[in-house]
């Protein structure tokens, strides 16, 4: 980490040309550039793309994925992975929807709290199995993906909770904007708050730095006195809590809860993280990058139908974009490494 910092400082001092090079080499800037080009292209093809309504719709529908990306970023930063999130989203959303259907919960706030609590519990159990049971994250979450999804169907008896069974106030939550006194839609406001909190935590708190430290070098982190397992447990619980939040948001947006909701969302979430420059081997990635990555994914899935590309082509294009993006990432990393070497040799 510090070595990198030193290198960067040296780059700034050396030549002015370097500033530009560094700027282009920076993950966030290049992603922003791609984003702007994408937007310009879509705007050129369909002039209704860059309207306030489209953007709000897009953010609203993608808010669940974007919230989950934050948790996934932390999980990836510590070198883990969580593919059970789709199931946890469904389970927590379904539980709160069932409680609302049976009239046990009526307040929107309480429903959210219950959903988050259930998600937190799921995440905590997963974290326990990973840290205490010493099972690899991919295997643990693969198992829990099946288990939690199965339990979701069991608690709901394979039935839906339909729109008329969910209280009016809860459904309206996704449409109204009372959290910010009528400024921004509630969903977007919650997403924004999450991003701001995470930005602060990851950048300026000890916890955030610990997460980065564990990801870059777990042994060094252990030697320097970080309680690795406690942080890992915390990160998986946090992921679970965010799944709970996303579950409640999901039920609110779609005004219904099904057993198969959020299937495959883990792939979208991991893809946004990776597009945003989070490394799967841990230790690298930033909140800003994840935000831009999520935005890119949102724009791709929202804009393709707008410019008249058949829905059947969407996942093909998405897959191609992901692969191209990660390859581009490697290529730029190599160029940076080469330049650094030249710099050292000079």
């Amino acid at each position: 980490m510090e070595l990198l910092l030193l290198r960067e400082m040296r780059c700034v001092n050396l030549e002015k040309k370097w500033v530009f090079k560094k700027l282009f080499a920076s993950r966030e800037i290049s992603l922003l550039l791609v984003l702007v080009i994408l937007c310009m292209f879509f705007q050129y093809r369909n002039s209704s793309f860059l309207s306030v309504q489209t953007i709000i719709d897009m953010l609203k529908n993608y808010s669940t994925t974007m919230v989950l990306s934050l948790g996934m970023m932390c999980v990836l930063l510590i070198g883990g992975i969580d593919i059970s999130i789709g199931s946890t989203v469904a389970f927590s959303g379904m539980c709160s929807a069932l409680l609302m259907r049976d009239g046990i919960l009526s307040s929107t706030f309480l429903s959210f709290a219950v959903s988050i609590l259930i998600g937190l519990t799921c995440g905590f159990i997963i974290g326990l199995v990973i840290t205490k049971g010493k099972v690899l994250p991919i295997i643990t979450t693969l198992g829990f993906m099946n288990i939690i999804r199965g339990i979701t169907y069991l608690v709901s008896n394979s039935q839906w909770v339909s729109a008329y069974q969910i209280p009016e106030s809860f459904k309206k939550f996704a449409q109204e904007s009372y959290l910010t006194y009528g400024q921004i839609n509630n969903m977007i406001a919650i997403t924004a708050v999450c991003y701001i909190i995470f930005f602060i935590i990851m950048k300026w708190t000890r916890l955030g730095r610990k997460i980065y430290a564990i990801g870059s070098n777990p042994e060094a982190a252990l030697i320097s006195g970080i309680k690795i397992n406690r942080v890992r447990l915390f990160v998986y619980s946090l992921m679970g809590a965010l799944c709970g939040l996303a579950g409640a948001l999901w039920v609110s947006v779609y005004a219904s809860a099904q057993g198969d909701m959020a299937t495959g969302i883990e792939m979208d979430v991991i893809a946004s993280c990776v597009l945003g420059g989070v490394s799967l081997s841990g230790g690298r990635g930033s909140v800003v990058g994840v935000f831009l990555g999520g935005l890119t994914m949102a724009i791709i899935s929202k804009a393709l139908p707008l410019i008249g590309i058949s829905a059947y082509w969407q996942s093909m294009i998405k897959g191609a974009v992901i692969i191209l993006a990660i390859i581009m990432n490697v290529v730029t990393q190599r160029v940076i490494a080469k330049n650094h070497q030249k710099l050292r040799e000079a």
């Binding site: 070198g79 992975i81 199995v129 205490k132 049971g133 010493k134 099972v135 690899l136 991919i138 295997i139 643990t140 693969l142 198992g143 829990f144 993906m145 099946n146 288990i147 999804r149 199965g150 339990i151 979701t152 169907y153 069991l154 394979s158 042994e219 057993g259 792939m267 991991i270 893809a271 990776v274 490394s279 799967l280 081997s281 058949s310 059947y312 082509w313 969407q314 996942s315 093909m316 294009i317 998405k318 897959g319 191609a320 992901i322 692969i323 990660i326 390859i327 490697v330 990393q333």
Partner: protein, 331 residues
Amino acid sequence: MTTKTVRIIDATKKKSLKQFLLRWESFLILIFILVNIMNSIISTNYLSVSGLFLATSSFVEKAFIALPMAYVLILGEIDISVGSTVALSAVILSISYNAGIPMGICIIICLLIGALCGFINGFILTKFTELAPMIVTLGTMILYRGIAEAILESNASGGLNSVSWFSKLYWGTIGPVPYMLIIFIIMAIIFGVVLHKTTFGRRLYAIGSNRIMAAYAGIHVQGTRLFVYTLTGTFSAVTAIFLAARMGSSRSNIALGYEMEAISMVVLGGISSAGGKGNFPGTVIAIFIVGFLRYGLGLINVHSQVMSVVIGALLIIAVMLPNIKPQKVLH
């Protein structure tokens, strides 16, 4: 890059490791017997020769992916694009048949497409070694399924059953034994022998336990990886052929989640996804455990969701058990 400690295998450790492996397999066999006892209690018709062979055809088609997946996991890697490869090659198989190409050539095309899909995975991973296999195969998983969707949209492409020998691939039997099971057992034996008795197999373990060391030892690491990924793609296409033979048609949404089932089977068989550990007989037993468990639960109309809970729990408990108190299991 995960740092791997150098393994020092001295005589005593080797012995205890052997014991452990022995125990692991006997544990698997125990589960297997338990599953079969449970099944025969559940259904009186279960313990008949034809019934048992019938049961195998419900899962053997998926098990073809698990064979090369074991190699991939021994390398310490993962391939989650196999389900999409199955869908894509099955779709290509049926559209090329409907375009008037004879079935024999269609099958070759299907295998080639599968091999190509695997080759692309391997090519990207070996050209850009910094990339994690998880993320590359995640991308190709979306891409391959996407191509299948773009080709067939939401339609099905059928008519494959009109070639009688083709549907016999799945349904045909010699006596009570399905062709598919025979092919599977031959394949499993070949895979097992190659893994445990040839230099290629030793190379896989070497790369899995320490890739850098393996490269210094003169093993062609990237070539081996490329080959294993291509093999995985090819065997996904084999699964696609049997799946198409069963259904007589293909859609773009077939084989959803096969990657997870294949990985579960392999991991339950004792192959660590961290690489370099595990053996083949365990995997084959695990394939039959998962298959018979699903079949047996299906007999008493247990919901497929309960099944996924049971299999998920089995996976986690099986992997966790040796980890909780390692001293007790090792000695």
